[in-house]
Amino acid sequence: MKLPTPPVPKGLRRKPAAPGTRPPSNGAHSNGATVQDPKETKKITKQRQREALKQQAAEVPIAMVGWLDERTGGGPFLRAFLFRKVPKGTNWYYTLGSATLFAFVNQAVTGVFLAMYYNPSTTQAYGSVHHMINDVFLGEFVRGMHKWGSTVMVVLVFLHMGRTFFFGAYKYPRELNWIIGVVLLILTMAMSFTGYLLPFDQRSFWATVVGVNINASGPILGPYLADFLRGGAEFGSTTLSRFYAIHMLLIPGLIIALIGAHLFLVSKLGTTAPPWLKAEKARDLAQEEI
């Protein structure tokens, strides 16, 4: 079924010129009287120029949007996506996914800026974080946003997952979206694990030693997995750069790609109504029951 496309928002619609505002080409007043006074003429010309300029300026954003829309066809898509119909009973719990996305964007943005000051070498890492927090303007704030934002993101991921579970939103045809979500959860955990080492203080060092050795506890393959994480049999300088690369390049790329797939499926399949709402019966069937 094809839904009708919602209307273009008011601000983007082309307005017809108000009656009497169009400057007549014959140099006459809108009332038709000819003006003789040269001073008056000059004044009126200036006014008309100003008005024309205003009108032109107002056209610029519309023209820009139109230019983009003509080349991408994004307008109808965006309108259908942003003004799409949602089921009755949609409530604040449905915003947890967007909140998680916001937390991720916050991590990405602050992470990019932290990378400008961070130095992933075993001898410099702690010092560079120390410098970032204590000397760089707003460094403590941006680093705090990243540190606390990671916790916020994990909490939001779980709340979002809980909402999906308790509302039964993982059921057919949305199983694939649940699977993608689980992979995103695991990747978020991997982000937390790899990011924890980067300050390279005593706590992060020993926590990572313990975490890597938990991987080593699996029989046969475990120690090799630990070797992969450490970049060798011993915790060394490779370990830190390896964790840094995984934390800022490998996993974020995977997460962005999977968030794209996640959102695509959400927009394609739509959201579910909360479980306490029953589907409305067809009118004739309801009358029959009465």
Partner: protein
């Protein structure tokens, strides 16, 4: 059958669009799904005999198939040429053998005694500063410290115990009053020989080979021990060593 079927006799059923081209007459469609005895006939190797559209004389594979397959193969080779070296580069350290640091001097024999442990610092990885150093506990060996692995040979002259907890690798410390090694992370407790007496560790604390050269004590490579203090090649923390477990974990030949 509905009334509609009577009004307009349906054409011959041809729903199988995967195997048969419905646009061509059936005579040119020798599909096993439509011709009853075709299973006995041998399928011709020539595309022309098989009735493929646009077939050429003497052709056994259509050009479309060949070029599609060729393009896929070329793409696969190009991807592998880039991907496999990159993967090997990332996985390389797993298969690398780390050379241990050799014998390290920890002080003259007079520094040590048989009753208490003396903490000493040795280097595991010289490239990463403080993080590459570790504390070991050293004492002179007594008759009680004989290992079943000695097999009549002279035992190691000194007991050098690694502070790497056998649970998950946290640093243990020796508490003289209790004569116990205690791990701060998850409560592992070891006796004065490094054997587990409490908590989650799966085997005794690792040790180092020791020797005396010109009156100075030197420690060498790390080794792991099981609960009978038999020597094994070095293992990661959390790897069991008793019974069959010793075969389920590979050795990690490092300091």
């Amino acid at each position: 059958m509905g009334a509609r079927g009577l009004e307009k006799p349906s054409p011959e059923p041809c729903n199988d669009r995967i195997y048969v081209d419905c646009r061509v007459p059936r005579a040119l469609n020798p599909s096993p799904f439509f011709v009853a005895d075709s299973s006995k006939k041998k399928r011709s190797p020539y595309t022309k005999d098989r009735g493929t559209l646009g077939a050429f004389e003497g052709e056994t594979i259509t050009r479309r198939r060949l070029i599609t397959g060729g393009a896929l193969a070329a793409g696969g080779v190009a991807t592998a040429a880039v991907g496999l070296p990159a993967l090997g580069f990332a996985l390389g350290p797993v298969f690398e053998k780390t050379e241990h640091q050799g014998w390290q001097d920890v002080g003259p024999e007079a520094d040590f005694n048989p009753s208490t442990y003396v903490p000493k610092v040795i280097t595991i990885d010289p490239n990463i500063g403080e993080a590459g150093k570790t504390t070991i506990y050293v004492r002179r060996a007594t008759d009680k410290d004989r290992s079943p692995s000695d097999k009549g040979k002279a035992p190691l002259p000194y007991v050098a115990i690694s502070t790497r907890c056998a649970h998950l690798g946290c640093p243990v410390r020796y508490v003289q009053a209790a004569e116990r090694f205690i791990c701060p992370c998850h409560g592992g407790v070891y006796d004065s020989q490094g054997k587990v007496v409490g908590g989650p560790p799966v085997r005794p604390l690792d040790r180092f080979y020791t020797r005396v050269v010109a009156g100075r004590v030197q420690v060498g490579q790390r080794f792991s021990v099981n609960s009978k203090l038999e020597r094994f090649s070095p293992r990661d923390p959390s790897n069991h060593l008793d019974g069959l477990w010793q075969y389920l974990y590979p050795s990690r030949p490092t300091t």
